[in-house]
């Protein structure tokens, strides 16, 4: 549980890219934790939504690559609707997913759908899940 902060060029670039892609200002988060308090899926997450933001603030791209939490965000915007700083956390999660995708594996591809479900699934769920979670 130790990190050495070096503020290197690539870390800075990662932060800038997240800001650019998400259209949010990561630095404006003051870590109140409200997003994590309200998120309906934290019970399955390895890190909390506020920690996703925190790790971006610290430029910790590597640590985010393995995070399951990014793929549990259902873009429900509960956090966005209550964040005192107006940060759209779902946009940030999507931006981080986008940046780490080339480095990680496909999180959810067509091969993963159980055959017996194929019949009953609403189309919108299929479209949405590919959009979100595959390269």
């Amino acid at each position: 549980m130790r990190i050495k902060l070096k503020f290197e060029e690539n870390e800075k670039k990662f932060i800038d890219r997240v800001n650019e892609l998400s259209g949010e200002n990561i630095y404006s988060c003051y870590q109140c934790g409200c997003c994590s308090s309200g998120c309906p899926f934290v019970f399955e997450m390895d890190i909390l939504p506020n920690q996703i933001i925190r790790l971006v603030q610290m430029g910790r791209e590597e640590e985010l690559i393995g995070s399951k939490a990014l793929f549990l965000c259902a873009s429900c915007f509960t956090c966005q609707s209550r964040c005192p700083k107006g940060i759209n956390i779902a946009n940030v999660a999507e931006a981080v997913r986008h940046l780490i995708e080339p480095k990680g594996k496909d999180y959810f591809g067509p091969q993963e759908i159980p055959v017996e479900l194929a019949d009953e699934l609403p189309q919108q769920a299929l479209v949405a899940v590919y959009r979100k979670f595959s390269k």
Partner: protein, 314 residues
Amino acid sequence: MVNKKTKLHYYPGCTLKEKTTNLDNTTYAVMDLLGYELIEPENWTCCGAEFPLTEEKIVGLAAPVRILRQVKLEGGNEVFTVCSFCFNVLKRANEAMVTDPLKHKRINAFLKDDIAIDRVTGEKTTDFPEYNGDVSVLHLLEFIRDEIGYEKIRSLLKRDLSKVKVVPYYGCRLLRPKGKIGIDEPDDPSIFEEFLENIGCEVIDFPFKQECCGSYLSLSMPDAASEASYNILRSAELNGADVVALSCPLCYYNLDRRQDRIKEKFPEFHEMPVFFFTQLLAWALGVDEEVLGLDQHFCDPRSAIGIDKSGVEI
């Protein structure tokens, strides 16, 4: 005398034509009774289901903008949906065309090369005007409140729903993101309650009405979705409701069709009937039971609205 119907654009979305025809059919039925002839935009496609959240993925805006442009080309200035997802994507895409000049420019440039057949003349067109976000996107709940009016609804009621103890379930897409998109205050909404009251139901307040049901995580993280859905249904029950009313086919999938899987994970779970709001409206307006498509439900909702097993009203 034949009543002339008002023409109105309606975007159903893919799921309604396949998995939840009950939502589509009841929408047609009630709108007919209310005096509207619905027009689906020519050659409509899937809206994309999810609004692209990052700048890089804006090509996802092409589909919804194309649909809206089509409405405009057909002379419409408003289009309504009943699916919350479609509503959300269309409304956000429309909003982006108004407020985000960069997106407006990029998407219009991208759509410039479209080819289509003119409906009236049958000629091939490639000459599309720019789309500037001037079609208004409405959810049927808004359309009923603002344009049809509850008064009219009340005057047409044929059946008594006063025994139906119902919770309104908004989910995410009708209310969020906060700002210009939602149809009501994200944390203090009332439009769905008003609607249900005006069709004669007993409305029950419950704290999970704006909570997420699990959305598409039911594919990628089925367990997480089951727990989210369970929390909602349990809260509805604890607060004394007999049924849930909603407007989104994916919420319906998670809250009704997946009740067996919820039960697997939470054995103490009690099944609860789930209705689309249009089904309740149709029933209240006197539409026949077959149109409601109640056999598509996992949890049989018949008794909740006073129909016995053999389909007879009691």
